[in-house]
């Protein structure tokens, strides 16, 4: 019984660590985009998945959504909702990247650094899929350690 409890705690510990890691990852990903919405707009424009009218709004909202979602995950505040948003973001990114990869579109991923010339490859899609799976694992947790309590 003690062993089972101990194993359960190990899983919970891992989920908590991953929750914080996903949060830091998302904050890092947003940091380069927050100050330059115009450049980010050009990047998401090349994805060809959003209607032109929505692009400016998406370029403004996505970086801040990443930032606040990342912050909530990192400190464990409303972490379940943040984990759901993390999965949603990663799911959308994975599908958008995969679609462009299949289309053979040449584009800058813009995932972490906007100036980086990271070419879109199968590894990029796989990496985002791993992030998505990490998010699902965090979301499956019933509770979490080291979280800011909601009053």
């Amino acid at each position: 019984m003690k062993t089972k409890s101990s194993q359960w705690n190990t899983v919970l510990m891992l989920q908590s660590l991953l929750r914080a890691a996903c949060g830091i990852l998302l904050i890092y990903a947003s940091s380069d985009k927050l100050g330059d919405p115009e450049k980010f707009l050009k990047i998401i424009e090349n994805y060809h998945v959003l209607p032109a009218d929505l692009l400016p709004l998406a370029a403004v909202v996505i970086p801040w959504l990443e930032f606040f979602t990342g912050l909530c995950l990192a400190i464990g505040f409303q972490w379940r909702g943040a984990a759901f948003l993390f999965c949603t973001l990663m799911g959308i990114y994975t599908l958008a990247l995969a679609w462009n990869l299949v289309q053979g579109t040449e584009m800058n991923c813009g995932c972490f650094a906007m100036d980086a010339t990271e070419k879109l490859t199968g590894w990029t899609v796989l990496r985002d899929l791993v992030f998505f799976m990490m998010g699902l694992f965090v979301l499956s947790a019933k509770q979490t350690y080291a979280a800011v309590k909601k009053e």
Partner: protein, 186 residues
Amino acid sequence: MSEAWGLFVFAAFFAVLFNTFYSDGIPLKAELPKNYHLQDLLKKKQTFIGYAGWKTASSKSASTAPADLALGQMPRLSLVGAKNRFDQKNAVFLDARSPEEYAEGHIPGALEFYADDFEKFAPVVLPQLKDKNQELIAYCHGSSCELSLHLANALMDQGYTNVKVFFGGWPEWKKANYPITTGDQP
């Protein structure tokens, strides 16, 4: 779920508010930022749009597809994308480089269409295209070259709806050891 929705609304509201007061904020409803350098270059190339021989036939399309829109919606192809389309043989490759460079080597089947001499090549090449929905892939010397962009934009201005640019162009194609051919014939 309500937590996620609340977080989304808060982030969106904050983002819009921040953008309103941020010195580098962007207009949410204005035109998309364009490649201003290309825009300037295109303005100098008014003859692209004014070619009388076939502008008449496509005047309606040209008026509904301004250069601004074409620049904002320029799809780009990677080497893989270009090779896939080459293998499928559905797309038409357009070589935007000079006739001398075309003769030295080009992608087999690519039509010679020197972007700097659009008026000369348009009446020769355009009648060979199936229709305005034909997939067209423009290429030139690679990412440092803008001839393919000029060509693609001029074609989009004239109502061609499925124009793409293979930015890697000739250097990338050649480096990959894909099929090439020489001479002035496709």
